[in-house]
């Protein structure tokens, strides 16, 4: 028998999943499918912006712990993004894919 997680638990899972996705895209964590560190700044930006949107949309509706979690995760991701963006582009980042990624995601949104 499995238990359905509460909304509080799901919120934390969501934030941490986004963080993981962004960290993979920032090349800070190994990509689960390829087993390589692959940097894709546009995907990272999209994941970070999604979290940024969550912060704004959930304002006043989070517990202190939840607020601290999402704010810290977001600040940390932004810091990593800024640091990564200052580095030269990696081999996996082509101009085409960088341009295509946000368009697809914008479409999905």
């Amino acid at each position: 028998m499995t238990r359905t997680p509460s909304h509080d638990e799901l919120f934390k899972i969501f934030v941490l999943q986004q963080q993981q996705w962004a960290m993979v895209a920032l090349g800070k964590m190994v990509h689960p499918l390829t087993g390589q560190n692959e940097r894709d700044l546009e995907s990272a930006r999209f994941a970070i912006d999604l979290l940024g949107m969550m912060v704004e949309k959930t304002k006043g509706n989070l517990s202190t712990d939840e607020d601290r979690l999402i704010t810290q995760v977001l600040t940390n991701l932004r810091l990593n993004f800024v640091e990564e963006a200052a580095k030269p582009p990696s081999a996996t980042e082509s101009g085409e894919s960088a341009a295509a990624a946000p368009a697809e995601k914008a479409g999905e949104a």
């Binding site: 700044l41 930006r45 949107m53 704004e56 949309k57 704010t71 600040t75 963006a85 341009a99």
Partner: protein, 635 residues
């Protein structure tokens, strides 16, 4: 199902273990240690320390650092006068003449102090398991009497633990050893020389049944006594050389105690050790330094009579078990003191075989307790434990004689009844005085409790029939009942006053422990906040130094000011200021990073054409998100 943890509440060190996936696991404490010193300290500022932190500060705070509290558990003050002289803290008599420890203007009972150690062990287990722990199996020396067992159970209650079973230490060790040998028929002897007590048990293992045949021991004999011998020797030598008696200097004695313990341990692997304590004391001529060599043979000479004292109980246990030395298949050594080569030699000679080396003498008892915990919770089912009561139980009868109802080494739980009568004509009441011990006269045995059976029908002496029943549960805790067969009047007591604590006192201590738990939690939170603040300040500072270009120059002073605020709050050790400055820095840093990120997204990706960086920096993340999407739509 909630876990039942196993705790070895030792004189010197305590260990906690739990069954995980069918295997017993010893849990590391927050300091990374598998054993936790059984030490509690009260600092001048009211802070309470338990474990390694308490032990570390013992030298500078000897009068308020409590160790070896197990030696005082369930004891009357008059029984522990020798032990009390050996410790730097003050042992005093409580309301019932029980041994208590004075710290400042407060008297602490030994169960209360032990509860602080148990709480630490409970927290260690909770941190590991990620869930709260409510139940435990706690071990005691097999030769602990009823009062000492009850005191241990009370300590568990004060710590917020339901003690599901009080388990004898050698039995626990045998369980741990025997779990790997289930299916074999073995007769084993467990020789357990701990920090403060000595126990020996003889057990029979077969088909998962662990049957204790006999047990014996000495509750006033352990590693502490070995240390004491070294301390006495060093202090005597020092007095001969320097004319100064170190015994009068509590701080020097604490340093010497630690050095003696270390020397004893090192002599298990070396033939000679140097005891070097610079600036141990001072007199008019200046500072004095202590420097001595102690050889293994000298050490063996110092402790020889102590080791010899373990032989008697071993022989008695063997005799009581009905087995001969040649019938013993294995000898298991338990307790840190069994690492002493001379102890091993004595055991080897006594049992005519090499003792088992495969068990860790420090951890095996806690592992056994965890196994018993899993048996009680239903997690493990192939083990059945049959333990015995270590001392005979009886009542006082005419002429102050102790009449035994339950002989020592009777398997528990057990129930025995015997019929007694009155000693004089027309006697309408009798006093039932429960006793524990092997001596013939009541005054020589341990008094467990008294009660009156009143309303006996008047008759000539010898006519009334009073049935006295002794009932011992699996924890070895006793209930005594008396019934007048003619009138059916009945009276009973559970022997529990022996721990020296009444129910109201226990309840007060439970509340105190909860309050302290809240205070400890608050303190831990403050430390966490402080660490978090320190690490945040460092992280932000590092980023400013390495990637300061990404931060808007107008915002830099604001960040630096917030860092300075955190640093000054940490410096002043003001918890509220640390929290608020940490939150302040977090907020500013979060805004600055949002702004830096905004600028980076605006200049780094395909959305380069998006509005001026400064404008973006003033907006929140949500606007940035829409800007990107809008831009994509535009393109």
């Amino acid at each position: 199902m909630a876990k039942i943890i196993g705790i070895d509440l030792g004189t010197t060190n305590s260990v906690v273990a739990v069954m995980e996936g069918g295997k017993p696991v010893v849990i590391e404490n927050a300091d990374g240690g598998r054993t936790t010193p059984s030490v509690v300290a009260f600092k001048k500022d009211g802070e309470r320390l338990v474990g390694a932190a308490a032990k570390r500060q013992a030298v500078t705070n000897p009068h308020n650092t409590i160790y070896s509290i197990k030696r005082f558990m369930g004891r009357k003050f008059a029984e522990v006068t020798n032990e009390a002289k050996q410790v730097p803290y003050e042992v005093a008599a409580g309301d019932n003449d029980d041994a208590r420890v004075r710290v400042g203007d407060r008297l602490y009972s030994p169960p209360e102090l032990s509860a602080m150690i148990l709480t630490k062990m409970k927290e260690t287990a909770e941190r590991h398991l990620g869930e709260s722990v409510r139940e435990a199996v706690v071990t005691v020396p097999a030769y602990f009497n009823d009062s000492q067992r009850q005191a241990t159970k009370d300590a568990g209650r004060i710590a917020g633990l339901e003690v599901k079973r009080i388990l004898n230490e050698p039995t626990a060790a045998a369980l741990a050893y025997g779990l790997d040998h289930v299916g074999k028929d073995l007769k084993i002897a467990v020789y357990d020389l701990g920090g403060g007590t000595f126990d020996v048990s003889v057990l029979e293992l077969g088909d998962g049944v662990f049957e204790v045949k006999s047990t014996n021991g000495d509750t006033h004999l352990g590693g502490d006594d070995f240390d004491q011998r070294v301390i006495e020797w060093v202090a005597d030598e020092f007095r001969k050389q320097e004319g100064v008696d170190l015994r009068k200097d509590a701080q020097a004695m604490q340093r010497l105690r630690e050095a003696a313990e270390r020397a004893k341990s090192e002599l298990s692997s070396q033939n000679q050790v140097e005891i070097s304590l610079p600036y141990i004391t001072a007199d008019a001529s200046g500072p004095k330094h202590l420097s001595m060599s102690l050889t293994r043979s000298k050490f063996e000479q110092l402790v020889d009579d102590l080791i010899q004292r373990t032989i008697g109980p071993c022989k008695q246990a063997l005799a009581d078990s009905g087995l001969t030395v040649s019938q013993i298949d294995r000898v298991v050594l338990v307790g840190g003191s069994t690492r002493i080569p001379k102890v091993q030699e004595v055991v080897r000679q006594l049992f005519g075989q090499e003792p088992e080396k495969g068990v860790n003498p420090d951890e095996v008892v806690a592992i056994g307790a965890a196994i018993q915990g899993s048996v009680l919770s239903g997690e493990t089912s192939n083990v059945l434990l049959l333990d015995v009561t270590p001392l005979s139980l009886g009542i006082e009868t005419l002429g102050g004689v102790s009449t035994k109802l339950i002989e020592r080494n009777t398997t528990v739980p057990t129930r025995k009844s015997q019929t007694f009568s009155t000693a004089s004509d027309q006697q309408t009441q009798v006093e039932i005085h429960a006793l524990q011990g092997e001596r013939e006269m009541a005054t020589d045995n341990k008094s467990l409790g008294k009660f009156q059976l009143v309303g006996i029908a008047p008759a000539a002496r010898g006519i009334p029939q009073i049935e006295v029943t002794f009932d011992i549960d699996a924890n070895g805790i006793l209930k005594v009942a008396a019934k007048d067969k003619a009138t059916g009047k009945e009276q009973s007591i559970v022997i529990q006053a022996g721990s020296g604590l009444d129910e109201a006192e226990i309840q007060r201590m439970v509340r105190d422990a909860e309050v302290n738990q809240a205070a400890d939690k608050k303190r831990r939170e403050e430390i966490d906040t402080r660490n978090e603040a320190e690490s945040l300040a460092y992280q932000v500072e590092k980023h400013l130094a390495e990637h300061g270009d990404n931060v808007n120059p107008t915002e830099k002073p604001r960040v630096e000011e917030a860092i300075a605020l955190v640093r000054s709050a940490i410096e002043s050790n003001d918890a509220a200021a640390i929290r608020s400055s940490r939150d302040g820095l977090n907020k500013i840093w979060s805004e600055v990073m949002a702004s830096a990120y905004q600028n980076t997204t605006a200049t780094d990706g395909p959305t380069e054409a998006t509005g001026p960086a400064g404008a973006a920096a003033d907006e929140g993340p949500i606007e940035a998100d829409f800007e990107v999407v809008d831009e994509e739509k535009k393109s």
